[in-house]
Symmetry: C2
Subunit: 329 residues, 2 copies
DNA sequence: TTGTATGCGTTATCAT
DNA sequence: ATGATAACGCATACAA
């Protein structure tokens, strides 16, 4: 049990606490001889630097908080990879927190992060209202990944454009009854739907929006309902890959052939979408890069708290695979 | 900037720090009137309880560390769900750390956890040597999920039995050239291979082991090599689902039909394996339950540090889906 | 290069 | 029920 303290190490090494402190942070001002001796006796004694105490004493420290909406969605793992990649070399430490798919834990998770006094928070997939996010940001710099919030640093893909690309792809294939399997409306997540509407309107096609949720099962249920209508769609765009998998489940369940009878497009380009048996046509948002840029934004924010909010928007591209084809007819 | 402190709240509410402290932990010994007034002025001032300072002063606290090997593998998300499920109601806080697929970050991540003075660590998928794990456990109780380490609390599925089940399934289908796509050898992860050997020997069949890695790409490469031999296997058991996906990739790439020409079995029952287009036959290890039990083990350990190591082993079952069939012949 | 003193924001132990 | 005060383990001037 973390009993041995700096004091103990200092005494054992015959030096002062302060010197031990310096040695452990390999700060300048310690002779290499002393440092080595100190580190040696430290490890002999089983000493572990107490980051809690250090953070308190130094008022802050180098810990960043990372909040991920959902561990089951591969895109967040991609973003985390990107974040870690660019942050590891800077000597920052990360403390992770995870929400739930319905966003109900977001606020408390963010509060927990604040309570551990992280210097900044990078949040991926925040489902919070803009107002609540601003409230958090008032106390701790908040960098928003994969969502845009006015007045806050944010890094995201252009969702309007991504959805437009997906819709246009289906239109180009000759589809006209194209449904959009929509996520529940919440601040910051309306752009995919808007992009769909935009493309449909431009083509003079009637939009067909099926409200759904961030859940494979629910998406499957809603797709089933969609396919049971009098004139079912010949193509479906899902608000994300998870929902697209649900749509695939439903199609398989009803014996509807994909893509022969039904085309399906996902959104995210998560790794399961790349499985050969699935080969889901989907919008690639480059999660890893989003993570990297978000981390850089965090660093920049720490560097200058009063800089104007940074907004970075990446251009998505469509990964055409095997779940889309011209309509049967 | 977390500026407002307990002192400020105390002053504003006209009471002492101590009382504010009690109020915020809703400890007994503070009148409901005072408590409400304190909490009110606290939130008015935008006060956020400083967990860092609290942990230091109370020597410890109620934070548990959770270490996950890899965010891209869905089973770890399952385990995390289980952990959080049983821990949330206990008022414990979780701090997460994540390794990399090759295990190279395990040790430093665990050290980081120790430095933030978590009271116990639940580690899922540790790739560390037994010795290193014991070294960690000497300072902080370590609960091992999905792996067994002698002398430590551990919760896992019976890997020997799982691999035996998978192998027997293929034998029953009539296969005789059954290859095992193996993970790199490391402490604690030899049981799947052993179960395979056991079943093959019992059936009088020659084992065919292809060394591979924890990576979809590498598994694909190794499968390709396997399929290029003079007498390629008619069935492959992968050490986990990720590797099985790699095998599927390779088969698709070479135009080998699954399951008609090649049967493939995975291990983990991760959610991508359940996608209708994939429908991977795999061994279900019940990750969520493993997480729950690991969390319970952690609680028990905290309750009695000197209790004998707890070892829980769940029985896996085979989820037979669409990637296995009798050999072509 | 090394040692000393003070403070970080809280909890905990006494009092009152 | 409430208040004063000493730890907690470390960082950080500052002095030597």
């Amino acid at each position: 049990m973390s009993h041995v303290t700096m004091e103990d190490v200092a005494k054992a090494a015959g030096v002062s606490r302060a010197l031990v402190s310096l040695a452990y942070r390999n700060a300048p001002g310690v002779s290499t001889a002393s440092r080595e001796r100190i580190l040696k006796t430290g490890s002999d004694l089983g000493y572990r630097h107490n980051r809690i105490a250090a953070a308190l004493a130094s008022k802050g420290g180098k810990t960043l908080g990372v909040h991920l909406l959902d561990l089951h969605n591969d895109v967040f793992a991609d973003m985390f990879d990107g974040i870690r990649e660019t942050l590891d070399s800077t000597g920052h430490h990360l403390v992770l927190s995870v929400g739930t798919i319905d966003g109900s834990l977001d606020l408390s998770a963010l509060h927990t992060l604040q309570q551990s006094r992280v210097t900044a928070i990078i949040a991926a997939g925040l489902l919070l209202s803009d107002a609540a996010a601003h409230e958090i940001a008032a106390a701790t710099p908040l960098i928003c990944a994969s969502r845009v919030i006015d007045g806050l640093d944010s890094v995201s893909a252009d969702d309007h454009e991504g959805a437009r690309l997906a819709t246009q792809h289906l239109i180009d294939l000759g589809h006209s009854r194209i449904a959009f399997l929509a996520n529940p409306p919440s601040d910051g997540y309306g752009l995919r739907l808007a992009g769909y509407h935009f493309a449909m309107r431009a083509a003079g096609l009637p939009p067909l929006v099926a409200p759904s949720a961030y859940s494979r099962d629910i998406a499957a249920r809603d797709t089933t309902a969609l396919l049971a209508t009098a004139t079912p769609p010949t193509a479906i765009i899902a608000h994300n890959d998870q929902a697209a998998f649900g749509a695939l489940d439903a199609a398989a369940d009803r014996g509807v052939a994909v893509p022969e009878e039904l085309s399906i497009v996902g959104y995210d380009d998560s790794s399961p979408s790349r499985a050969p048996g699935t080969a889901l046509t989907t919008v690639a948002i480059r999660g890893r890069e989003i993570g990297q840029l978000a981390a850089q934004a965090a660093l920049a924010r720490l560097d200058d708290r009063s800089a104007p909010p940074l907004r970075t928007i990446l251009t998505p591209r469509l990964a055409v695979r095997a779940t889309t084809a011209p309509p049967a007819r």
